[in-house]
Subunit: 527 residues, 2 copies
């Protein structure tokens, strides 16, 4: 493998032409295992392929951000799987011998395949799930710790990764309004795992010995009280934690689809009267379907009165605390016992970087109560404070905060505020635009960057509910598979709607007007 050998021996990296006579002389030499490893770990190869990657990614990003090409590169799943399998088979085959293959060209081809078959979140026509067009530079910071494989569980394995996570948790927790020297937190692999971690803590606090004894030892079946439209991971948590999904008591919502505080009060009073153990109240900031923010100050007061743990799933909306204009939406978040906020949503970080906060930092250690002799060093007991394994479900854990730390250190809070303001503002403006149309019907006035609506041209408006609903779903699928826009769907009060999240800060009002025209064109074709 000439390329790698040259990379290793020279700081001025050049790829020699295939016609180089040295290549031909050595092309039939069989590589030993050690040579193969040396090639795979060659720093010169990393330099050359890294530079090529930077070029590929920048070109791709420029194209996608300009609105060129499709949003989603639609392909039926089996065809994509087969294509991915073919590349692995090519790697395995004898004909892929390193002597005869230009590794750099192979790398370029594999990267191009990945880029050309994906979902283009950075396209301004991406208005789909709550996954952002992430700040591209975050991925560069992330690459530094991924390449060097900085991990946690214990401080020693990722001292800087741990420090960066601590700094980010502290900065964001203070922005939420927690007392600087009282709260604690951690970063974990996604919002579902974050909610599970917080609810596990709440379970262990509410039911003293459930960690060791399990739940079969309990005479009364405990319940989890949740927002009627809580994310599915809340119910799943009840299933995982041995409470049972049917033990989730759903609090009715008000006309704005927020948790109804009076109903919550009654629910908790009834449960207390029946001596039913209550794990927690799980509120939302905001709930997923239409982005409704619960009245947290009022909910916290009710929970305090009934002495119930308040958990807030602020996966999407927590970032509002960084905006002067929108932080009122999460007023009271600092009163919760536990809070989840996904940096990979409205802090525009790539997946996954989910934060869990505890108002009382000691609660971190209620999640688990375990030691492992080879992990937690009795000769340095103070280190447990910095050993993430004590509070995280993960043992080995990614340095997931690096992107957020790097971008924050370069741009400051003002960037996050700008992204929240821009996308939330546009959510409100989109509602006004929808209101101005005769053939579109917004479901409700948005509180943030999530807007739900239906396309109801005259031809469909008076048909049966089922026909109207199916039309929305078919319309969405046609638009999505065309690649022109990416939006999603939801079910509210048993009816189907189109749903958009404006989560690319480069999306503008004009793009949204274009969306409506695109829906009209595809709708016309369907009818």
């Amino acid at each position: 493998m000439q390329i790698a050998m040259i990379f290793r021996s020279s700081s001025a990296v050049k790829i020699l032409a295939d016609s180089n006579p040295i290549n031909n002389q050595t092309s039939n030499i069989s590589h030993s295992q050690r040579e193969l490893i040396a090639t795979a770990y060659d720093p010169g190869l990393v330099r050359e392929l890294g530079k090529r990657l930077a070029q590929s990614l920048a070109s791709h990003l420029a194209s996608v951000q300009s609105g060129a090409g499709p949003v989603l590169n639609w392909q039926d799943p089996p065809a994509n799987v087969l294509a991915a399998q073919k590349q692995i088979a090519q790697g395995d085959s004898a004909s892929n011998s390193l002597e005869n293959e230009n590794l750099a060209q192979r790398f370029d081809a594999l990267i191009q395949q990945a880029l050309s078959c994906g979902q283009n979140l950075h396209h301004p026509h991406y208005v789909g799930h709550q996954v952002p067009a992430s700040v591209p530079l975050a991925a560069l910071f992330d690459a530094a710790t991924t390449l060097t494989n900085q991990v946690m569980a214990i401080y020693e394995m990722g001292p800087w990764a741990t420090a960066v996570e601590r700094a980010v948790v502290q900065r964001l927790g203070e922005a939420i309004g927690f007392a600087a020297d009282e709260f604690g937190g951690l970063i974990t692999s996604g919002g579902s795992l974050a909610n599970l971690t917080a609810l596990l803590t709440a379970r262990n606090v509410a039911l003293g010995d459930s960690w060791t004894q399990g739940l079969t030892a309990k005479s009364a079946a405990p319940v989890l009280v949740a927002h009627a439209e809580a994310h599915y991971c809340i119910t799943r948590s009840a299933g995982i934690l041995g409470l049972g999904t049917e033990q989730v008591v759903r609090v009715p919502i008000d006309s704005r689809r927020r948790m109804d505080v009076d109903q919550l009060d009654k629910t908790l009073a009834n449960l207390r009267n029946q001596n039913t153990p209550i794990i927690a109240v799980s509120a939302a900031a905001c709930a997923t379907p239409v982005g409704a923010f619960d009245p947290l100050n009022d909910i916290a007061e009710v929970c305090r009165r009934h002495e119930v743990w308040l958990h807030v799933d602020a996966a999407h909306g927590g970032a509002a605390c960084l905006s002067t204009k929108y932080r009122h939406l999460v007023a009271g978040l600092e009163l919760a016992d536990s809070v989840v906020c996904d940096a990979h949503k409205m802090l525009f970080m790539p997946a996954l970087c989910a934060l869990v906060f505890y108002r009382n930092r000691e609660h971190r250690f209620a999640t688990f109560a375990q030691t492992a002799p080879y992990l937690f060093d009795p000769s340095a007991p103070g280190m447990a404070e910095y050993d993430n394994g004590m509070v995280n479900l993960e043992c080995t854990k990614r340095a997931a905060a690096m992107g957020l730390w790097g971008v924050w250190s370069m741009f400051g809070q003002r960037l996050f505020e700008a992204m929240v303001d821009t996308t939330f503002d546009l959510g409100h403006r989109f509602y006004e635009i929808l209101e101005e149309q005769t053939d579109f019907e917004p479901f409700c006035q948005p509180e943030c960057n999530i807007a739900v609506f239906r396309y109801l041209p005259n031809k469909i408006r008076n048909r049966s509910a089922k026909e109207v609903d199916n039309f929305q779903l078919e319309l969405r699928r046609a638009v999505v598979q065309s690649g022109e826009f990416y939006l999603v769907q939801t079910t509210l009060d048993k009816r189907s709607y189109l749903r958009t999240t404006i989560i690319n800060p480069l999306t503008t009002e004009d793009h949204l007007k274009n969306l409506l025209d695109t829906l009209r064109i595809h709708g016309e074709r369907l009818l």
Copy 2:
């Protein structure tokens, strides 16, 4: 911010000198939010900083791999946290205005700080926890999907990410020996989460309605039967799942610290006689402390006879299936109902990429039994097969298989085989070396790349057990904080030992001899 403006306007990226008169003309113009966002998303900036990053990482890797500098850059945690916080504060401060700051220089400085404060897994003197010196190119493939933020939960959000995951799961599952058209699998965020997922599935299969009804509805307390030295996440899983950590029945180990098959048989017979529900038997391939591989064929036969779900935590050793020389260690793995294998261990991938396999693919859907209207499209029911959210605890999920897919497609199975063979071989050789010394005592003959031993010079050999144990711990700390080597410790039969995992394929026999000399020097100082 001149740099970004130039990047945006020119495909030929250049950083102009600060003396450029255009810079001075515009340096006091206040940036609007939209301009700030445009800077952060500028493809030209990505190109320039990406190239700088490739240079920084390659130089760092070359230095570390050559053995220059410390393994662990030791710094007390509070000092590191303070340093990380200072950078965030600098980002927030008005003096960090984009007009006056060279973003590229700031980026370089932040990257250098991260690289200079970490744990250098690629240093040949890294012989610590089971976290590898990962194949550097994997991080480049990873960066492509991180920058474009390809995620899963549903196929549409990451069609290529999904395809790549499917291809990798299929390839590795077949290598384990599962029937190609019968097994299924998934990739999740770490070995602990992988084990939790598999054991949750086993719980739901064993206790039909525990998902919906919870465990308080059960009259008999179920147990989880586990290897006596199972990883701590197995016990934690019992705590999380509502079984209770004290409901873990530990099967005694034999003289080689493998699960004792006769004892397992008796344990299961006793439990069945008592009508105690059994969730699963959790075996290990290999167990963490000394790397002992359980006799899987025999264990599978016992489990089959007692009709108990067999789970195998092959997080570390599963990769042996790719080696002709060592695959005998995991013979019988294909008989397990569920298997966990961490690609971020012996497949030398960066964290996190953990695979879960089910012998019967239908079991994937027993883990959860839930729908979310905005995620799972009733207008395309067949898609659930490709929507990871159905089988994964994560909702939004990283494209964690990209690195493995890319490296496999470039180098094929032979690279993984080479890395397994090289490190396992060296584990055996290290034992021979230890045996040749009069002042070192190996704990047992290794089966793979994990070796456990003590340093017992004459001065310490005859002291009390407590003094001998403390000496090992203090010796380890001294060596680790010196940066000369990184190794870990463990407790076996209530005694303390030094523990090494040879998990950098660039580590050689000479490095290990050097380790012994280093321990002698630090030991002399301590005594």
